[in-house]
């Protein structure tokens, strides 16, 4: 489109990629994790739950700093990065994904876990006496019944990943096309008082997210789902 600078387009694509990949992975991780946390209740599972929520209490830039240490050559991330010849997990798309995952995990786990709880044990017991393995019960019964919770998880983590910024800024290195997402670009514009551009980007982000979230929430209100 005319008038939209290419770096904004690049950042938009990257942002969407990050949000989609992160949200997808979050849900993939959160579903079994929430299931495991929901039943049966053990006291130490409350602790796992609390630990998951901890990244939230640190300012993103501070959490970003600790992540930098962890991702760097002397941390576990550097050790992993060496597997493919890199020095660090920072400054890469992978690094952004890991950081965003960590930060948004509670938004994904908590609603799904609540949904599993609300379902109660009846459907699980019914499935068991119909010969469904725990795995089949999980994906044929638990996940569809926890649908509302899953949608909430998606909405919150999607929105938050789009808007997340402190961590991304810190571990991303703002490399155009690789780690420069829209929120960082927007911040630049605001800082350098380019108000017109900033308002346009902010407006675009809000509009797009509004439509996406609206679409997602309308899924939430489908009364029933006919899985074939």
């Amino acid at each position: 489109m005319k008038g939209i600078p290419t770096d904004v387009i690049e950042a938009t694509i990257l942002t969407l990629e990050l949000a989609v990949v992160t949200t997808g992975m979050l849900v993939t991780i959160a579903l079994p994790l929430a299931w495991w946390l929901a039943f049966p209740h053990r006291w130490w599972k409350s602790m796992v739950n609390a630990v998951i929520s901890l990244p939230l209490v640190l300012p993103p830039s501070v959490l970003g700093y600790y992540l930098l240490l962890a991702f760097g050559p002397t941390g576990p991330g550097g050790w992993i990065a060496r597997l493919w010849g890199a020095r660090t997990l920072a400054f890469s798309f992978h690094g952004l994904v890991i950081g965003s995952l960590l930060y948004a995990l509670p938004f994904a786990v908590q609603p799904i876990q609540n949904a599993f709880h609300a379902m109660g044990r009846h459907p699980v017991e019914s499935a068991a006496v119909l010969g469904a393995s725990p795995w089949r019960t999980f994906y044929r019964i638990a996940i569809p019944m926890a649908w509302r919770g899953v949608v909430t998880a998606i909405v919150l983590s999607f929105a938050h990943t789009i808007g997340e910024f402190g961590i991304v800024l810190m571990i991303g290195g703002d490399i155009p096309g690789q780690t420069r997402v829209l929120s960082v670009a927007l911040y630049d514009y605001v800082e350098s008082a380019r108000w017109h551009d900033a308002n346009m980007i902010a407006g675009g982000m809000v509009m797009f997210s509004f439509l996406t979230i609206l679409l997602l929430s309308s899924l939430q209100n489908r009364k029933r789902r006919h899985t074939s």
Binding site: F71, R87, T88, M170, G173, Y189
Partner: protein
């Protein structure tokens, strides 16, 4: 009411020392609020209760003056930043030649759009004719302190930071970049209009002009403008 200073993030440590000294001398109380220069200027515009603004550039105080939010006569350059190229390891200090050899994956600097030191770093790279070559390896932080963190944590091997940040660090080696390679990093202070009648605030401005403050600022790793004509500019 205490005297409220709004201080650009890169100067906050030094500002704290200055404030401590001032408080000891005068028995007045001073509080420091920090943020990026752009953020602080916006806050002043929106009615933040600051008395004095120590910016990291000259442009923002000027803008505040022209929109009547700051007192023109009070504006002066309290410090001139010095750009250094720093790396955390021992051995020879990093220099132009090291950049040219390119034995590194990431070179850290800060965002030219938001931090003057970033703009200076890029001017330097351009002056060395290295900018286009190194561009893919540049990692950009949002402030000089974040740039330092990128390097200190080992994620970037070296980078451009402020002398004030690294002059007292025990680890690492640095080279001061010649001032001729980039436009000077003048940091201006200005008395804000709401404190126009505030005697304490004027007293602090006077203190900031004084030899003792200038000495402290220089020891922290900044230059100070020579001569009275600078201060009166």
């Amino acid at each position: 009411d205490p005297l409220r200073l709004a201080v650009a993030a890169n100067f906050i440590q030094t500002a704290q020392q200055l404030a401590d000294e001032f408080m000891q001398r005068t028995d007045l109380s001073v509080t420091i609020s920090s943020g990026s220069s752009g953020q602080l200027a916006t806050q002043v515009r929106e009615g933040a209760p600051f008395d004095i603004f120590l910016s990291a550039d000259t442009q923002r105080p000027e803008e505040l003056v022209s929109s009547g939010l700051a007192i023109a006569s009070s504006r002066f350059t309290y410090a001139i930043g010095q750009l250094v190229l720093w790396r955390p390891t021992t051995g020879i200090p990093p220099d132009e030649q090291m950049l040219r050899n390119g034995q590194f994956a990431h070179l850290a600097l800060c965002n030219p759009a938001t931090a003057p030191y970033g703009a200076a770093a890029i001017e330097t790279l351009k002056a060395w004719n290295l900018y286009d070559q190194l561009r893919p390896r540049l990692v950009v932080a949002q402030s000089v302190s974040q740039a330092l963190e990128l390097i200190q944590s080992g994620n970037a091997e070296l980078g451009f930071v402020a002398l004030a940040q690294v002059s007292r660090l025990k680890e690492g080696k640095y080279t001061v970049i010649p001032e001729s390679l980039y436009s000077p990093l003048r940091q201006d202070a200005v008395l804000l209009s709401r404190a126009g009648e505030n005697i304490d605030a004027r007293q602090f401005m006077t203190f900031l002009h004084g030899p003792q403050a200038r000495d402290m600022i220089r020891r922290a790793g900044y230059l100070t403008p020579n001569g009275e004509q600078e201060a009166a500019r």
